[in-house]
Amino acid sequence: MKYSYIKPRRKSMLTPEIKLVVTFFAMTLFMLISTYVFLLIKNSQFQQEEIDIIEAKYNIERNIKIMEIKIIYIEKQNALSQKIFTKNSVLKDSIKNLFDLVPQRITLSKAELLKNGLVLYGITPNKDVYNFMLHAPLRSIFHRTYSSFYPAKNGWLKFVSTNYMDNDIEKIMNEETNDE
């Protein structure tokens, strides 16, 4: 005896409602996991970038140090050369002043510029000319001045004037250089 005119359908576990729920849940899981993967990848990228930045900073720091050493060296070269140039100029002025100091009536035959003094050899008509025109200015410059005289063939006097400073001329020149 038949109760129905249609054939019975086979019942499945996956009803449309369950399919919908599973799809929704699958999407949720997918989104969760993809967020997690995104975070993992980003963190890894950040760490790599951080390592790169640290390395770049180290290289830059090293470059800066090298450049700073070069800068210090050039400044040192510049300071030393300026000191030398000024010293040469001061020396030139000193020698010029020395020769200007010698009056026309006195003739020099030899001049020795030492580290701490000056030795002059020359000829003078008489002691007075020497004492007034050369000895006096030399005494005002140097701390210790010694003179000795020898008669020359023409009746004039040969002299040797030895003058010393308590400080080195070089030191005084250095001070002048530093002042400039």
Binding site: L32, F46, I64, L80, S81, S89, L91, L113
Partner: protein
């Protein structure tokens, strides 16, 4: 009371499973990773700013160096140049009646630079030539300091002068010269 269908039980089981999974996954992995992400991002931002500061300072130091090198080109080259007596004589011979330069083989270190002592003897017509020489030496290819003792001796119409010079160069010359000596 309504009857609970099998379908509802399935949905309930799946929901509970998903709920537990989401909770466990979130607290064990997702949230810590998110916190890490935020921390890393902040750190990276700070590092980027730091790097920018470093790069700016590097550029600034580079500019300073280049400016210094450009302004002191002559001095840098002079310190680098090896002193050759023949070249010196060739360059300054015209100013003197005669010029003789002897490189004394004593090397010293002064303020980090190697220093050669050079003995010079020359014949000049007047002290003015020596003044001119002292002016010119400051523009020479080497860093030279004229040093004591300086001697001028009259010989008829000319002056014989002898003096010492100190030639300064970069200290690497010291090693080179020591090797040559050995």
């Amino acid at each position: 009371m309504s009857k609970i269908t099998r379908q509802s039980i399935y949905i309930l089981i799946i929901s509970v499973f998903l709920f537990i999974f989401v909770l466990v996954f979130s607290f064990s992995s997702l949230i810590p990773e998110g916190k890490e992400y935020r921390k890393e991002k902040t750190q990276l931002l700070a590092q980027r700013q730091d790097l920018q500061r470093y790069q700016d300072f590097e550029a600034q130091t580079y500019d300073t160096l280049k400016k210094l090198q450009a302004n002191n080109r002559h001095i840098i080259a002079a310190f680098d140049k090896e002193f050759l007596p023949e070249r010196f004589v060739k360059k300054y011979k015209s100013s003197f009646n005669s010029l003789d330069v002897t490189k004394v083989q004593t090397l010293d270190l002064e303020e980090g630079f190697s220093v050669y002592d050079v003995k010079t003897s020359s014949q000049i017509s007047s002290p003015a030539v020596f003044y001119k020489f002292l002016d010119e030496i400051n523009k020479s290819d080497w860093i030279i300091a004229v040093n004591f003792p300086i001697e001028f001796v009259r010989d008829g119409e000319v002056l014989n002068s002898s003096f010492k010079m100190k030639v300064y160069s970069n200290s690497k010359d010291l090693n080179r010269s020591k090797l040559v000596k050995k």
